[in-house]
Amino acid sequence: GKFDEYGGQYVPEALMPAIEELEDAYERYVLDNEDGFMDEFRQRLADFGGRPTPLQRADRLSERYDAEVYLKREDLLHGGAHKLNNALGQVLLAKYMGKDRIIAETGAGQHGTATAMACAHLGMPCEVYMGRRDINRQRPNVFRMRLNGAEVTPVTVGRGTLKEAISETMRDWAENVEDTHYVIGSVVGPHPFPAMVRDFQRVISEEAREQTREKAGRLPDSVLTCAGGGSNTMGLFAEFVDDESVDLYAVEAGGSSLEVDEAEGVAPNSATLSTGTEGILHGSRTRILQDGDGQIMESHSVSAGLDYAGVGPELAALVDRDRVTAVNVGDDGALAGFHRLSQLEGIIPALESAHALGYVEDHHEELGEVILVNVSGRGDKDLETVLEETHDRDIEGAPDMDTFESTGGF
């Protein structure tokens, strides 16, 4: 359960037996494919999820950067992002474990919708905790969860955002741990979550590695993707970690600045790997954004999905070992990357994914001849944010939005 000094199981005692039970199930079903669990998982990922997702040569980016740029198209996965790989794996695992209820927390709503989808598909009751403020900000995602039959329970304490929702879900789990599985949304939390979620997301790099060899005739020189909690990151890196010739870049959200405001407890970024320090958060030891006392900072990013003050412990360890290079791109660079891919390739990426594209723009000369970038999700969910943010800033290459100016917003 450790990745060098990171990882571990820092959870209330009441949850420890459940975590041990999960650890056992992880080893049997996921690692040893007991009862054909992994076979069923992969079949459902194919039929329900739409795997394999394509690897696409980005013709116009390749020309722009005078390199071979390949895009891994996780945006085409059912639900519009890589999130389903994990949600489907965990809900199926819960079924194998004999659990009869699923809970999850969600911030922007992407993990909640993926979990609700997986639960509907597998006929499992599902309750998703979500801050009241997030519910009001992310109405389409709330509606999608409700459509898939999930209960969406508003969390009204505190600021009504992700952190309060996590506490509330932990609370539910602590209370109902015997029949309930908590589907954590990223490679975070206590062991075995970071390893298990990575193994459910590993399919991204299994495919991408093989596809790159087929299309480019060799392995990529560099592999890039965004990193918030790090589930798409670890999913994309997992199979490349042992390929010494391949450089791995985790692109974090630089937000508006890498400076922090200690007094207010606010980091105007989510660059945990780049600027965070070792600590304990949400069940594991990892890099976190914290003040000098160890209080967790409020992180910020134009991309809600990267907006998290922690990061997966394995990713933190890989950065410490210099196997993964942690870099970051700010809000403006991400918005420009969003517009660039939309216009040049006809793919509207998630704002999360746009961070990786922003990094390629500025550093392509250091990235070698064959560059693999993960489009971890699609950007339909971000239209309103992009409309507002683009209006307020001077973003390179953004289309003018005169068509809208009569009424503003959607």
């Binding site: 009441a14 420890m16 160890g294």
Partner: protein, 279 residues
């Protein structure tokens, strides 16, 4: 004999909890002192952490209030020093605050400073026995106790591991879930007590105790102490909501403490006490 052991020595101990600095430094001092006047034998004094994953909404809100009023680890130790109470104090907080204090990278600085300020022990809800070695060592070094929580789901090897490390008292969690006042008190309290009966350490039961009646029943079930948090924090919250003066709230807390202490004492005296050792 440690101060905590002494507190449990004669009759059932009443162990109330409040978050330090809720809703502000001065009021909070008065509230904690009121608990002692109401009969507290040990006080669990929360040091607020920004991500209190083990707390119910009541205590979570108290923590938010205390943080907003400026509570920090450094202020917390000053708070402990400013407190005019004579009972042992147990610091309840999350591991990251302990880990980061001072030089950081370990619990030693925190425990040293806490001991200096007058803290007698620790209870850390997100630190299971498996990860507790460094804190255990620091406590030994600085003469503090390390309280562990035993949950209704804790059995077998895990139970052994915890009970072999616990000192001061064992915090017996009466039911699943997080902290919070409940009107129903699970039968699991008795079951849980039975599971830890063989170890020679005081057993304090917490989670969901909100009335003297509850306290009585828990002690009747074999507890050496009752831990009460949310029911007291509720009184603080109500005071904030209504804008009551601190002195009024303090007196209510004192009254509630008396009720709970009296319940615990009733549980110990009247009925036959099914001491597991004796069955």
């Amino acid at each position: 004999m440690s101060r905590i052991a002494e507190a449990f020595a004669d009759g059932p101990a009443f162990v109330p909890y409040l978050a330090a600095g809720d809703p502000d430094y001065e009021s909070s001092l008065a509230y904690v002192e009121a608990l002692e006047r109401g009969g507290a034998d040990v006080i669990e004094l929360g040091l607020p952490f920004s991500e209190p994953i083990a707390e119910g909404p009541t205590i979570q809100s108290a923590i938010v209030r205390a943080l907003e009023a400026g509570m920090t680890p450094t202020r917390y130790f000053e708070f402990v020093e400013d407190l005019a109470v004579d009972v042992p104090l147990v610091c309840m907080t999350y591991y990251n605050l302990i880990y980061q204090f001072g030089e950081g990278g370990g619990p030693d600085d925190f425990v040293r400073r806490a001991a200096e300020a007058g803290i007698d022990g620790f209870v850390v809800p997100d630190l299971p026995a498996e990860e507790a070695e460094p804190l255990r060592e620091a406590c030994d070094e600085h003469g503090c106790e390390l309280v562990f929580i035993v949950a209704p789901t804790t059995r077998g090897e895990r139970l052994e591991r915890i009970m072999s490390q616990v000192s001061g008292y064992v915090y017996v969690q009466a039911r699943l879930g997080t902290t919070g006042a409940r009107t129903d008190l699970s039968d699991r309290a008795a079951e849980s007590l039975e599971r830890v009966a063989e170890w020679d350490v005081p057993k304090a039961v917490g989670f969901g105790i909100s009335t003297g009646e509850h306290a009585q029943r828990v002690v009747e079930a074999g507890a050496d102490g009752v831990i009460v948090g949310s029911a007291l924090v509720d009184i603080v919250a109500q005071g904030v909501e209504r804008g009551d003066p601190a002195v009024t709230v303090a007196s209510r807390l004192e009254g509630k403490a008396r009720e709970l202490k009296a319940g615990a004492l009733r549980g110990a005296s009247g009925n036959e006490r099914p001491h597991p050792e004796r069955t």
